[in-house]
Every structure is written in C-alpha cells, then in structure tokens.
Subunit: 113 residues, 2 copies
C-alpha cells in the first residue's frame, strides 16, 4: 500500500482490515478492491498488486474471506471474494483496534509542546 508518491510507506497491517471492509460491502474481485480503496480514499491509498494478491490469499487461508470464480462486469472471469462469518467478526475486532490505536497516536501527535 502506498500512501504517497514520493516516499511514504506508512502503515502496515491495515491493509487486511481495509480489504475486509470493502469485501463486506458486497462480493467483489481483487482488481476492483484496489480501485475501490483508491477511490474511497480520494487517491490517498494506492494498493499495489504485489501487496493485494498476497493479502487476499492470506485472508482466504485464514477463512476470513471466501473466493469463487465468476464473470466480472466486463464479462471476463474473475475471482470474487465475499466475507465469511469469521471474517465479519474479525472486521469488528480489527476496526475497534484501529479506533483505539489511531486515537492514541493522534492524541500524542496533537499534544501541546
């Protein structure tokens, strides 16, 4: 996941929860997930393919998502991912975790000098 053109590489580990969230919005294939994240973030987030597919396989292995081949909007075959029950639970947990963490970090960064 790249968050800046020049040089950024902030944030590791958040890709999973972002993917879970997008998949939770309805069955979707990998390529579209990346597009959706980019669009929803106002181009702040740009997921590289070399990050995306390993992440999807990771999530599938953990049974947080389920995959099946189906025809995409363009008529081509694509692997559609949907959230499992376990995945929905994970999404909840990790979302709470993100909230806690981002609040803690933001709090520190805005502390008065």
């Amino acid at each position: 996941m790249v968050a800046d053109r020049q040089k950024s590489d902030l944030l590791q580990g958040t890709l999973d929860v972002l993917i879970l969230k997008v998949v939770a919005l309805g069955p979707i294939h990998g390529y579209a997930i990346a597009q959706r994240l980019q669009q929803m973030s106002g181009a702040v987030l740009q997921v590289q393919q070399g990050s995306l597919y390993p992440a999807l396989h990771r999530l599938e292995k953990r049974r947080w998502v389920r995959a099946e081949w189906a025809a995409s909007e363009t008529g081509r075959e694509a692997r559609f991912y949907s959230l499992t029950k376990l995945g929905r639970q994970q999404l909840g947990e990790q979302r709470a975790n993100w909230d806690r963490l981002s609040a803690a970090i933001s709090g520190i960064l805005s502390a008065a000098e």
Copy 2:
C-alpha cells in the same frame, strides 16, 4: 511497538513520528521515551526495546535527532536525544501525512454498508 496484549502488531512506520514528537517536547533519553509513549497513550502503545533503540539510531543517522551523554534524573549517565532542525521539519511533514492517512482509513472503515 505492541498495541495489544494478545496479538496485535498493527502499524509499522509510525514509531518514528511518535518518537520525533516526544523528543520535540524536550531532550529526553531512550528509556524515558518508551515510558512517556506508554503513559501518553494510556498503555495502548508499548514500545519494545528491540524496536526503540534501532529506531533511535535510525533517526540519529538521518540527522533528525541529535544525541549526547548526560546525567539522567537518577544521576546515572544516559543518552539524551533532542530534535534537529531537519527533525522538526520531518515531524511536520510526517504529522500531516498521518492525518491524511488516518482520515482516509477511518473514512473507509466507517462507510455505510
């Protein structure tokens, strides 16, 4: 940096900006930085020494912080870190980066289904 007792390991790369921020509050030694982060975050963030010292050396190498030996509060010798001009600039940039990024992620995670 550990954010959860059980299993967490969210967030990589944010340790640097957190350290820069704490150092910006005034010269401080490594051990105290870890304590301060833990305290300021309400125990959400716990920086391991194996993360802390490599990070400090990294920041020093990049000339974002400067280090010198001095006596700590307890009278013992310790390495006190202070922010350089470059470091102050970096802190500003990375803080802005964090704000952009966390806003983007939070926005996605709270999107309606």
